[in-house]
């Protein structure tokens, strides 16, 4: 038996440019994966970064060989990598944990593949692999800095697309010669890069348009979202379900715990409406979720005129789910005793902690399932989840929530009757001035349904109060809500939310105060909601019989629980991000001018809408005039310089520096005579000039015009003169 070794089908790729581009793109993609925290072990990272470029160089050198032994060796190495992967993956407990061995395996596949890429098709596979790697890195990346990898990769991927679009040598006829004759007029310096720049610009524009018009649909098929510890956890000593917030400052002399840059006093046993101060703009955590939500932490039900406290602060342990990876929040706690009769929206959230937080888990309303890297979670009656460890930087946990999404008509139909057991949520301070209740009654006059009353109060607060972090502390002895509503009408979110809760309670509607974080800003590139320390927030939950607790935020509003179709697109966050950027970089006078211009444009638009027939007429007339003007301009350009004349003008231009400047009145022949009379001029120059001049004269005056070949020769002669004169 004879073993026959056949070379792989297709010609080897000889283009060094394509190989370099592919090697660089793959290396960038490997670098992007390696740069993600804990993505791959360090030895694998170093080896892949060194071996992949080496592999492409080796493959180029051996592209014409059969490489049988190499293929065998690569197969063995691949099997070894697979064995290693299977060994590693045996010990993981979730899909998320499998990503590290999977990334390692894929890097090895990429590296081994790099050693045997003889053909263009093999290089295309390499580019596909690099796309997968860059996608993996993108899915792991939490920050915008990933753009440092993505943009160069995109550039090289574009270069690869461009280079590989050129047909291979065997797909076109082998030319005997290719001659390029440059145009007469000198090209601008940017001419060579203009097409590439135009292509890049168009691609960027197309990408941007696609990106902003790409919907963000809900739909997570990931059954086990990520959760992990970051090093050794900070345990809460003597944990019994109480809140521990080490970031809070010590009590001031008057017993009030104020805001500190990293500590929100709302994450504790009490919410003191006398507290003042500012939180920092440091990033508190990132949230990966399909939609925005208020990240809820604690609930307070008792108000004494200055402090919100919790009546029943007992907590119960959360029991693990069947798979042992998560814990389940009992439905009566999670959904409230109304059981969300009006419907809900399932939101899967993963929190990546950036700044140490208290031992309270943040989550969208009605958390049902929690994936947390520590046992011993407890929950209070209002659904506030406490952990036995502090949320340290780097900790990751996930929560599945059923966010209430009851439509307004259903809320309006809710019975206006307080269920038994909810009377604590109607509690009011004993000395609450009656004018608070009077104001609430005045605002909601004529509205019977709870929903209408809630909306009326919320609207009134939004219209008549102002969010202001500069307000001084209230005078001693006053009711904080009364003082806010009738004296200042300026204050923190705590004052605004408390006012709503108290006014609704005066109307007999059960309410409670909730603290947590606002949704933050969605980074349009990473897709994460970036929540700052200063996003710590307070809002209100209102109970609807048969439905449950529904959040209301009189300060900034509650994100839609079930976003509309328009809200599914990234255009909003993108333009918001652009707006924030502009707000930060544009000087105030310019912003004022832009605002003024915007108002003028708006007013003009409104006027145009009112007088649209006139506007249409004007636009049509303008369009016709523009078209005619363009045609006229084209016609004026349509009579270009004849090629013979162009050659002559180029000749005159070339000879100018030698002192032979053509007088305006001299004919071409006279100019030629002048050249011929200059003994110092090269005979080749005069001969070439003679050809150019004669051709030009024939083109201009002779009945039989010079042929195309003669014109070409005249052009060449003109170019030769430029060359000869320049060399001299």
């Amino acid at each position: 038996m004879k073993l026959e070794i056949r070379a792989s089908a297709g010609r080897p790729e000889d283009s060094i440019a394509i190989r370099v581009v592919v090697a660089v793109a793959v290396t960038i993609a490997i670098g992007a994966v390696v740069a993600q925290p804990d993505a791959v072990p360090a030895p694998v990272a170093v080896a892949s970064l060194l071996l992949a470029p080496l592999g492409y160089w080796f493959s180029y050198r051996r592209r014409h060989a059969s490489n049988l032994l190499l293929k065998v060796a690569l197969s063995v190495a691949l099997l070894a990598a697979l064995g290693q992967f299977l060994g590693d993956v045996r010990s993981v407990t979730s899909v998320d944990q499998a990503r590290i061995p999977l990334a390692s395996l894929f890097l090895w596949v990429q590296v081994l593949h790099a050693f045997d890429v003889p053909r263009r098709r093999d290089l295309a596979f390499s580019m596909v692999s690099s796309l997968i790697l860059i996608a993996e890195a993108g899915s792991l990346s939490l920050t915008t800095s990933f753009a440092l990898f993505l943009l160069p990769w995109a550039g090289f991927a574009g270069a690869w697309l461009s280079l590989s679009a050129k047909p291979r040598a065997d797909q076109v006829a082998a030319p005997v010669a290719i001659r390029r004759v440059a145009p007469d007029r000198r090209s601008p310096r940017t001419a060579p890069i203009r097409p590439a720049a135009a292509t890049a610009g168009l691609a960027l524009l197309a990408t941007s348009l696609v990106f902003v018009s790409m919907p963000r649909l809900p739909g997570s098929f990931v059954r086990t979202p990520p959760f992990s510890l970051a090093g050794n956890p900070s345990a809460v000593s003597g944990f019994d379900g109480t809140v521990s917030n080490p970031g809070l400052p010590a009590e001031a002399g008057d017993g009030v715990v104020d805001f500190s840059s990293g500590g929100y006093p709302g994450f504790s046993d009490v919410v003191d409406l006398q507290a003042r101060g500012r939180l920092s703009d440091d990033l508190a955590f990132r949230v990966r979720a399909q939609q925005a939500a208020l990240w809820r932490a604690q609930v307070f039900d008792r108000f004494d005129g200055a402090l919100w406290t919790v009546t029943h602060d007992e907590t119960t342990s959360l029991t693990p789910d069947g798979d042992g990876l998560s814990v389940v929040v009992p439905s009566d706690i999670a959904l409230g005793n109304g059981a969300l009769g009006g419907g809900s929206s399932r939101v899967v959230q993963t929190f990546y902690i950036e700044v140490p937080q208290p031992n309270v888990l943040f989550a969208a309303a009605s958390a049902r399932q929690v994936f947390f890297p520590s046992a011993g979670l407890r929950v209070d009656a209002a659904g506030s989840i406490r952990s036995p460890i502090l949320l340290d930087r780097g900790l990751v946990y996930s929560v599945v929530s059923e966010v209430p999404a009851t439509p307004a008509p259903l809320l309006r139909l809710a019975r206006a009757q307080v269920p038994r057991g909810l009377t604590p949520y109607l509690q009011l301070p004993d000395d609450l001035p009656s004018r608070v209740g009077d104001l609430a009654a005045e605002i909601t006059r004529g509205r019977a349904a709870w929903y209408d009353r809630v909306i009326a109060v919320q609207r009134w607060l939004r219209a008549n109060t102002r969010y202001d972090l500069g307000v001084p502390r209230d005078p001693e002895g006053v009711d904080a809500v009364d003082h806010f509503l009738f004296e200042t009408r300026r204050g923190y979110c705590e004052q605004i939310a408390s006012s709503m809760a108290v006014m609704l309670r005066t109307l007999g509607i059960p309410t409670r105060l909730v603290t947590g974080y606002g949704p933050g800003q969605r980074n349009p590139l990473t897709g994460y909601f970036e929540v700052k320390q200063s996003d710590a927030h307070a809002w209100v939950e209102v109970f609807y019989p048969g439905i449950g607790w529904v959040p209301y935020d009189p300060t900034f509003g509650v994100p839609e629980a079930a976003p509309s179709a328009a809200g599914r697109f990234m255009a909003g966050p993108v333009f918001a991000a652009i707006g924030r950027f502009m707000r930060d970089v544009v000087p105030a006078p310019l912003k004022a001018a832009a605002g003024e211009a915007g108002r003028v444009v708006g007013a003009t638009g409104a006027l145009a809408l009112r007088t649209w027939p006139v506007v249409m007429l004007v636009l049509m007339v303008a369009g016709v005039a523009l078209t005619l003007a363009r045609r006229s301009r084209r016609r004026s350009h349509a009579d270009p310089i004849a090629p013979g004349e162009a050659a002559f003008l180029a000749l005159v231009d070339a000879l100018g520096p030698t002192g032979h400047v053509r007088a305006p009145q001299s004919t071409p022949s006279e100019f030629l005579d002048e050249l011929a009379g200059d003994a110092g001029l090269d005979a080749d120059v005069v001969e070439a000039a003679d050809l150019v001049v004669r051709t030009f004269e024939r083109e201009r005056f002779a009945p039989v015009k010079p042929s195309e070949g003669e014109i070409d020769r005249a052009r060449d002669a003109s170019g030769r003169v430029r060359h000869l004169v320049g060399r001299r």
Binding site: S139, V172, V176, I178, P183, A206, G527
Partner: protein, 413 residues
């Protein structure tokens, strides 16, 4: 506009990334998906721009022989504005070829010179070219047909220098000099009409001219001494489907051209007789120069409703009076078998001194258990018996070798 496989790959990739991005809510995957779609959109829009406003001209020799590889220049000019990129020209002139032009800057002229094999006889008019571009990303290709300026090229049959023909008697130098112009005589070739002179035969009176002019007119005929060689060609059919460089008719024309030019070079007159349609007329080319002869053969195409070659040969003898040698050139089509050809050849051999048969052998494989060689052997045997000498021209062999070797002997089966 045609989408390429690459576009499909990018669209699928974008779809997969969008699906994954939706499921893990990873924003960068949406960015990547948008990039892939952006590349598709860009690659779809730009090629149309690259193929617009292109001017193409072509330079090629006006005459070449079949099988030669002349240089053909294709000159591409871009428009005044905008760079054309990734241009490929598909040019079917003489031989189909894809020409890589690449980038053409505004006002630039690019001349691409390639060698083309002149594969088919006949006139090659300046056909249009297909200009295509898939630049910059190769995801979609735009094709546009562009009319091309330039002159046509006539592809003549391939000619093989043969030297003295073994089957034609040499002619003396003085005879060559005398025969440069036709001489009046009693031959079969018609020269014109003139007034009657005493002594003219009444058989030569041209009554139509006499009636028209009122003066006795007679036909003037050429002296038949130059009629040494006639080449009878089977142009009844051809077969281009075989995919060979030369079709059977190309080879027949090549043989006829080579023999005719060799005969002319030796001072012999050479006439070309081709098959006829069913009206019974023969197509005879006489007293032609080299160029006229080649041009005639270059433009020769299969005759519509052709009579069988054997029938043509059977009828050719009266038209070739005075001819010393008749060369029959024919492909070994199934109907050119010994059964049909031998009687016709015998009829010609009885009236003309030398009959040479040149079967242009086709590789048709075995039929009914009889191989090509065996069929040829049978044909040779019968034609020899009919009085012809036979020089078979096999595929891949040179004509001179076929003519130079001894006439084939019959192979007994």
């Amino acid at each position: 506009m045609r989408l390429r496989k690459r576009a499909i790959g990018l669209l699928i990739g974008a779809g997969v990334l969008f699906f994954l991005g939706t499921n893990v809510q990873a924003g960068w995957l949406f960015v990547l998906a948008a990039m892939l779609l952006g590349a598709v959109i860009t690659g779809f829009v730009l090629p149309a721009r690259s193929t617009r406003g292109i001017d193409v001209t072509r330079r090629a020799p006006d005459r070449v022989h079949q099988g030669e590889e002349p240089l053909v220049d294709v000159i591409v000019r871009g428009g005044r504005r905008g760079t054309r990129r990734g241009l490929i020209l598909h040019d079917r002139f003489l031989e189909a070829a894809n020409l890589w032009v690449g980038t053409v800057r505004p006002g630039e002229r690019v001349e691409v010179t390639t060698r083309r094999v002149a594969r088919r006889r006949g006139t090659h008019a300046p056909t249009s070219v297909s200009v295509r571009s898939a630049a910059p990303f190769g995801v979609a290709e735009r094709r546009r047909r562009v009319e091309v300026g330039g002159e046509s090229t006539l592809v003549l049959p391939a000619v093989e220098p043969l030297g003295p023909l073994p089957f034609v008697q040499p002619v003396s130098t003085s005879e060559i000099a005398m025969h440069t112009a036709p001489r009046r005589g009693q031959g079969p070739e018609y020269l014109g009409v003139r007034e009657y002179r005493p002594g003219d035969s009444m058989r030569h009176v041209h009554w139509a001219s006499t009636a028209r002019t009122g003066v006795m007119m007679v036909r003037e005929l050429e002296q038949e001494q130059t009629r040494k060689l006639a080449i009878v060609i089977d142009a009844s059919r051809d077969d281009e489907a075989a995919g060979e460089a030369f079709t059977p008719l190309d080879r027949v024309c090549s043989a006829a051209a080579s023999i005719a030019l060799a005969a002319l070079a030796q001072g012999h007159g050479a006439r070309l007789v081709t098959g006829s349609s069913d009206d019974g007329e023969l197509d005879v080319l006489a007293r032609a120069s080299d160029d006229e002869l080649l041009e005639h053969l270059a433009l020769l195409r299969p005759v519509a409703r052709a009579r069988p070659f054997a029938a043509v040969v059977a009828d050719v003898a009266p038209a070739l009076r005075g001819t010393e040698t008749v060369v029959l050139v024919f492909p070994t089509w199934p109907d050119n078998d010994a059964e049909h050809l031998a009687p016709a050849v015998q009829a010609v051999a009885e009236s003309i001194g030398t009959v040479v048969a040149i079967p242009v052998m086709l590789d048709r494989g075995a039929a009914r258990g009889v191989s090509s060689e065996e069929r040829l052997a049978g044909l040779v045997q019968r034609l020899r018996a009919a009085g012809a000498s036979v020089h078979a021209w096999r595929l891949g062999a040179s004509l001179s070798a076929a003519l130079g070797e001894a006439p084939l002997e019959a192979v007994s089966r």
